[in-house]
């Protein structure tokens, strides 16, 4: 038997104590690992959110919320001045509206407004979106005050989007699956419909439908990055939508592209100064910072908790080892008297301390690996629910545009966090255990060095 074996065997001298220390250290190491896992997952998420930030600036009418009436809308003339601002390389303008099926019945007090000046917001299209009433089922839902059901011929109003860039709508890259795209600069009676919309209304390229009492022809059928996000959309050119809805020169939002992300903040300020209080001008950095601020809180909390858990573990083993050394004072004195050096006795106690922490590490690693992902999700979920409420929340199928969409995509992204647990985490756990053991045995070693065998003989 050597000094290490003796140390390991000493760790099992009192089984009740060994079990208690293992459980307590296991909790401490497990908590450290969970916090490390959460910290890494959140840090990775923050990095990915930051990496996904584009060099675009969102411009929307002040006080405008998606789906509401654009009574304070911006105009093409106002936005033309934005095009001349330094570093702005492109400006996409959009006018959105909602059209309800002419043959469908809307329930009373349904949140639908008539934004067009011609007063005919109807279409022949039926929405492919099925609303679940009063929290039943999955997918989009509607709550009817006092209970009840939607009318049997109800169809959700569809979004019609007039844009100067039909290749990207509501932060979704558009892919034409059939037919061709529209001419975004001209007022034509051509439209693009989503694959879901085409299927619902049995349409193909060349089919026609009505909007605002005017017949439009399906020029192309599209899908987006997110099929569900664009399912309820019809895309026309900006001049077409302005002409059909009788809102000449009006836009409900715009996206300015800047030459470099470094110029994003300065250009945002320049646009805001140019448009004044009539517009809300935000960039993705601001929105991303707002969105990830709860994640930063989680990151800080997990970091402090990690330090706290390691410190608690160290304190537990430190106090335990001091207690053990005090308890075995005579034994240490005798061992020294019969020829053991301080280093040898310290090594024996370190082996005992490492044994305790490795036992705790096994329990902690199992617990940490099992609890890491759920706790990370819980922390992020609680934090983002409490902290991330901003513009653009709510029912999105109304066809809103502007910062709300960018925000919504960030927000949905951060809630969808997943902690990866690899060998590195297990190695960190073992390293933490060894660090805890070494810190824990430091004071004990000091006491061991102070024990003089002569005192043991005197105590006889």
């Amino acid at each position: 038997m050597n000094v290490i074996t003796r140390g390991i065997r000493n760790a099992f001298r009192n089984m009740i104590r060994t079990l208690s220390i293992t459980v307590i250290l296991g909790l401490s190491i497990g908590l450290s690992l969970v916090m490390l896992i959460a910290n890494q997952a959140v840090a990775n998420k923050i990095a990915s959110v930051k990496a996904s930030i584009g060099n675009t600036i969102s411009i929307s009418p002040a006080g405008f919320t998606p789906g509401s009436s654009a009574n304070n809308a911006l105009t093409t003339n106002e936005l033309n001045s934005v095009k001349t601002i330094a570093h702005v390389t492109n400006l996409t303008e959009v006018l959105t509206d909602r059209l309800h099926n002419a043959n469908a019945t809307l329930p009373s007090r349904f949140p639908f407004d008539n934004t067009s000046s011609n007063g005919n917001n109807t279409t022949s299209l039926s929405s492919p979106i099925k609303l679940n009433v009063n929290r039943g089922g999955n997918g989009p839902r509607i709550f009817i005050n006092g209970g009840g059901n939607l009318p049997s011929n109800f169809s959700l109003p569809v979004s019609i989007i007039g844009t100067t860039d039909p290749s990207n709508v509501n932060s979704n890259a558009i892919t034409i699956t059939s037919g061709s795209t529209i001419d975004a600069g001209k007022s034509t009676h051509n439209a693009l419909v989503s694959t879901s919309m085409a299927a619902k209304n049995d349409m193909k390229v060349g089919s026609t439908f009505t909007a605002y009492g005017t017949t439009l022809t399906v020029k192309g059928i599209f899908t987006g990055d997110s099929t569900s996000a664009v399912a309820n959309d019809v895309i026309v050119s900006l001049p077409t939508e302005q002409q059909l809805s009788g809102q000449t020169g009006v836009v409900t939002g715009a996206v300015a592209t800047v030459d470099s992300i470094d110029n994003l903040d300065a250009t945002t300020t320049a646009i805001q100064n140019k448009l004044g209080s009539a517009a809300n001008v935000t960039n993705a950095v601001t929105e991303a910072n707002n969105t990830i601020s709860p994640l930063n809180s989680v990151k800080t909390i997990t970091l402090y908790s990690l330090i706290g858990a390691v410190a608690a573990g160290s304190m537990i083993i430190l106090m335990t080892m001091v207690m053990i050394v005090r308890e075995r004072r005579r034994e240490i004195g005798v061992i020294k008297a019969i020829g053991a050096s301080n280093l040898r006795v310290m090594t024996q106690f370190m082996a005992e301390s490492v044994t305790f922490t490795l036992l705790g590490a096994v329990v902690g690693i199992i617990g940490g690996v099992l609890a890491g992902n759920p706790i990370t999700k819980l922390l992020v979920s609680n934090s983002t629910n409490a902290g991330a409420r901003g513009p653009g929340g709510g029912f999105r199928h109304g066809g809103g545009f502007g910062p709300g969409h960018a925000f919504a995509s960030f927000h949905s992204g951060i809630a969808n966090i997943s902690a990866s647990i690899g060998w590195d985490i297990i190695l960190y756990g073992l390293a933490a255990a060894v660090i805890i053991a070494l810190i824990g045995s430091a004071l004990a070693s000091f006491f061991i060095a102070k024990i003089r065998p002569a005192e043991v003989m005197r105590a006889e």
């Binding site: 001298r13 034994e331 005798v334 061992i335 019969i338 050096s341 003089r452 002569a454 043991v456 003989m457």
Partner: protein
Amino acid sequence: MLQVTDVQRTFKSGDTTVTAVGGVNFKIPEGKFASIVGQSGSGKTTLLSLLGGLDKPTSGSIEVDGQDITKMHDHQLIGYRCRKIGFVFQQYNLVPNLTAIENVMLPMEFAKVPVAKRQARAKELLAQVELSEDQMKRKPGRLSGGQQQRVAIARALANSPALILADEPTGNLDSQTGKMIFDLLHSLSRSQNTTIVVVTHDLSIAGKTDKVFRLKDGKLVR
């Protein structure tokens, strides 16, 4: 040969200096069995600590096998204790979670004796102090006081020391077992040619040793 020359050990206690051992001189030839007797507080244990290299004298010299241990550094003293000294304590002081044989192997581990040799020597010593094979595998808690003291004696003999220092080795035993332990020490001093110094206040035991030193107030008296 153990030669103690004018050894003094004083302690500071506040403003006063307490003399635990004051100018002790004696000589014990190799293989002799000596006893130090005296009342409680007479300095017996302090003197034993000085002889064992557990403590350093304030002045004087202690020579064991021609080596002055008072001039040794701490790390040299560890080696001295390991190879030249065997301790036997009143409370036996065996390591409770080691078996009898493992306890005897312990000093040999510190002296870096190979495992196989350690095991053979430990068995031989335990057999010498009349412990059965079964008892050798028992932990101290499952041995009687006399058996534990015999294990302690075997442990003290492990590295074939020049000097065995026993502090009240029979103090915790009944008279019959005490006599048996004393006889064992006596016979070992003869058979192993080991110098043995026993601290005791039992004059009947002390009377049977080759030399008796009486200690009073830290000084040897006749």
